[in-house]
Amino acid sequence: MSGAGKDWILQWDGAAIGGVRTKNVAVNGEALDVSDDDSNGWRELWPEAGEVTVEISLSGLVKDQRLQAQAFDPETRIHAVTLTGHDGSVIAGNFYLQSYSQGIEYKGYPTFDATLLSTGVCTFTPGT
């Protein structure tokens, strides 16, 4: 089966995180508002972004303790992350572990949610 979400492999420091079920990637380009009196009442945006950031959200089952261990470590929170698609496209950059939360239900398997924030350049290489 190719093209399913599981074929998008997220690697954190070169190794896939076990138990992941959902990955969400959000790219935000902060707009620079350059409207002035000459804009005749229309908003004008500068063609270049003020700041581009990428946020990756992950959720799944707690089968891998690396994220959990990092969450409790205030230092060295930046790690190399690559997200490789089934078509060979790659999103790569350094990411800071911003948040990690765990759901522990008495009659189920523990689940987690984590948010990674880009730091520095993040690249996208299209696949075929």
Binding site: K6, L10, G18, G19, V20, G108, Y109
Partner: protein
């Protein structure tokens, strides 16, 4: 899925318990005509996917029926109690799988239309990851 291996693991756990086996004439999947009471049957099981990016797994239900001809429900309840003790929140080994958890969901008991047979039903939730078949 590891449906056969999961049923085998449940069967071996139940048949490996001496107090339970002392209460029953046997534990079956198919029951022959004329089997003596009381006995238990590993009955219907269902499974749904429990996959992640890195593993495939199954979230399954296992139903255990008990059949008794005792007057009253005491024998049925005692058998159900013992099955609960040895399965609920217990560990087990499943061939070609990684066991995750086993939880009791509910029990019930009925008087069958013949007026003399007591039928107990218990359902458990069994979750496991599949390993490559050895």
């Amino acid at each position: 899925m590891r449906l056969v291996q999961a049923q085998k693991a449940i069967y071996e756990t139940l048949t490996g318990d001496l107090p339970l086996m002392a209460m029953l004439t046997g534990i079956y999947d198919h029951v022959d005509q004329g089997t003596s009471f009381p006995y238990a049957v590993i009955g219907e099981d269902g499974a749904s996917e429990w996959d992640t990016d890195t593993e495939v797994g199954a979230d399954s239900t296992i139903t255990i029926h008990t059949w008794s001809r005792e007057r009253g429900r005491k024998e049925t309840k005692e058998i159900q109690e013992r099955v609960y003790e040895i399965l609920h929140r217990q560990d087990m080994t499943i061939e070609d799988a990684i066991f995750r958890f086993l939880l009791w969901q509910f029990s019930d008991s009925f008087l069958e239309p013949d007026g003399i047979t007591r039928h107990g039903v218990m359902r458990f939730r069994l979750v496991y990851d599949s390993l490559p078949v050895s």
